[in-house]
């Protein structure tokens, strides 16, 4: 498949971080990676490989030292950060809900994005709830008393209830049990398909990757060592370090049933 200009793309991005006085650690080493509308890109790799740092570049929570991030060909640094983040929300690893009910959360999000407050009877909201498998009966429940899986779903609805063009997911299933994570994978697929969203998913969960992503980028020590179709990368990795990582993750998953 020829990929000319991806919808959301990091181009040759380099990020360093201060570790101690005067010393910098290079976290990302000239990465180029992109995702198209309606496509799910899974960025997998061991802890500390720079996955979350990479994700935070896409909605300008971090700035690269070198290189650029482009949205529909436009450098995101030319877009007002709140406007950009309203279009490319990031759902954090640990779901954080504001105090109040689920509806309060949706309304708070609308206020932050300066969009219209959602209405209970709004058909678009009903569709979104259905898409994310959030029961309308949760709307008037205390958001922080929902289970972690339910909270994660509410976070999804909250992020999508706006002018969303892409979605960034940071380890979205790390706190979930296996069946819930599998359901989530299905939800992500539906979201990408129905809303034609570009989704970047950072995870070390290979099962989730296999079940929902179209493409996989394998990040090790700040470099993308493999990037391609999911089945190809997971089944026929070309590099030795990719094989080692995939093998270690697969055996780890087998050791932790559930």
């Amino acid at each position: 498949m020829s990929r000319i200009v991806p919808f959301l793309e990091a181009r040759k991005v380099t990020v360093s971080r201060p570790i101690e006085e005067g010393r910098l650690q290079r976290v990302l080493l000239g990465i180029t990676l992109g995702v198209d509308e309606g496509e799910i890109l899974a960025v997998v790799g061991p802890s500390g490989s720079g996955k979350s740092t990479l994700l935070r570049l896409f909605n300008h929570l971090l700035e690269p030292d070198n290189g650029e991030v482009l949205l529909a060909g436009k450098n995101i640094q030319t877009i007002d950060p709140p406007t950009l983040r309203a279009r490319i929300p990031l759902v954090a690893q640990k779901p954080f809900l504001f105090s109040g009910t689920v509806l309060d959360n949706l309304q708070a999000s609308a206020r932050l994005r300066q969009t219209q407050l959602p209405d209970f009877n709004d058909s678009a909201l009903q569709e979104l709830l259905e898409l994310c498998q959030v029961s309308p009966s949760w709307l008037d429940r205390d958001a922080r008393k929902l289970s972690i899986g339910q909270q994660q779903r509410v976070c999804l609805v909250r992020s999508l209830a706006g002018p969303c063009q892409a979605l960034l997911l940071d380890e979205p299933t790390s706190a979930l049990d296996r069946p819930t994570a599998d359901l989530m994978a299905k939800t992500f697929r539906e979201i990408a398909r129905q809303k034609n969203l570009a989704i970047i998913l950072v995870t070390h969960d290979l099962r989730l990757t296999e079940r929902c992503s179209d493409r996989v980028a394998l990040l090790i020590d700040g470099s993308v060592i493999e990037d391609g179709a999911t089945s190809q990368i997971l089944n026929n990795p070309t590099t030795e370090s990719a094989r080692t990582f995939l093998l270690s993750e697969t055996s780890e998953n087998r050791e932790t049933p559930g």
């Binding site: 909605n59 300008h60 929570l61 971090l62 700035e63 640094q77 950060p81 709140p82 406007t83 950009l84 983040r85 309203a86 279009r87 929300p89 990031l90 759902v91 954090a92 640990k94 954080f96 504001f98 708070a108 999000s109 206020r111 932050l112 994005r113 909250r158 992020s159 706006g162």
Partner: protein, 261 residues
């Protein structure tokens, strides 16, 4: 009412200091570990106030504006330094933010109060300007340090909430609102409590001082009311400025939370 002021002799002061010795003794008895602090603070107070007494004596005699203004600037400097020394975790650009806010907030309020409320003639009359500015700066310093401390705590505690709101497209002003209003409330609590309890629970220092030095109680009361309004105004203005300038310091130029704040 004729002003008959009882001057204190050196012996009277020594007698007063015996009360401090009693405090040192009690601290020692309870092993509170404060005997040394009490001793040195007592000594510092003696030396500092003696120096201030002589400086004021000199400035009152000079009757020119420049030394008065210099004293006020030194007071602001000490206020900023005191807050800085007290803070364990300083906000980014701390001295610039707090210095500007105290200088501007207290400056505006002192001159508003002295020229429009009291109508000082000349405007720099040190007998009024220095003690009034001292009260305004001192109280604003307390308010400012409470605000700075609370703002830092709020940004620490609300990190997840603020980052979530940023990720949904909130502006830094909107996402900081809860932290900023909580810090403003914290700064104003002493002023609110002082005004509510005044006259019932305690007689305020300035009023007491004026009464002791022979001022008619009703005049002293009017002064006290006016200065409390000025103090509250100054605490609010200084805190407002600190918070307006200060919350931005927690964010990068591209509106994300700074790390390690």
């Amino acid at each position: 009412m004729s002003a008959t002021i009882i001057d204190l002799s050196l012996w009277d002061l020594v007698t007063a200091y015996s009360l401090l010795l009693m405090s040192i003794g009690l601290a020692h008895l309870l092993k509170a570990g404060q005997s040394k602090d009490l001793f040195w603070s007592g000594l510092r107070m003696f030396v500092q106030l003696l120096v201030v007494g002589y400086v004021l004596h000199l400035i009152f005699a000079l009757k020119t504006a420049l030394p008065v203004l210099l004293i006020l600037i030194v007071m602001v400097g000490f206020a900023v330094q005191t807050i800085g020394a007290r803070m364990k975790m300083k906000m980014p650009h701390f001295y610039r933010v707090v210095g500007t806010a105290i200088l501007f907030g207290c400056g505006v309020m002192t001159f508003f109060f002295c020229s429009l409320v009291i109508g000082l003639e000349p405007w720099y009359d040190p007998r009024y300007l220095i003690p009034l500015a001292g009260m305004i700066i001192g109280n604003s310093m307390t308010g400012a340090s409470l605000a700075v401390e609370r703002l830092a705590a709020e940004f620490r505690e609300r990190q997840d909430e603020i980052e979530t709101a940023l990720c949904l497209g909130g502006s830094i002003q909107t996402v900081s609102e809860p932290a900023v209003s909580s810090a403003f409330r914290a700064a104003l609590i002493p002023s609110v409590n002082a005004m509510a309890a005044m006259g019932l629970v305690f007689l305020p220092g300035m009023m007491t001082g004026q009464i002791i030095s022979g001022t008619e109680p009703l005049i002293a009361v009017k002064y006290q009311i006016a200065i409390m309004c000025a103090i509250t105004g100054s605490v609010s203005l200084t805190t407002f400025l600190i918070l307006r300038l200060g919350y931005r310091a927690y964010f990068t130029s591209y509106q994300s939370l700074r790390e390690g704040c």
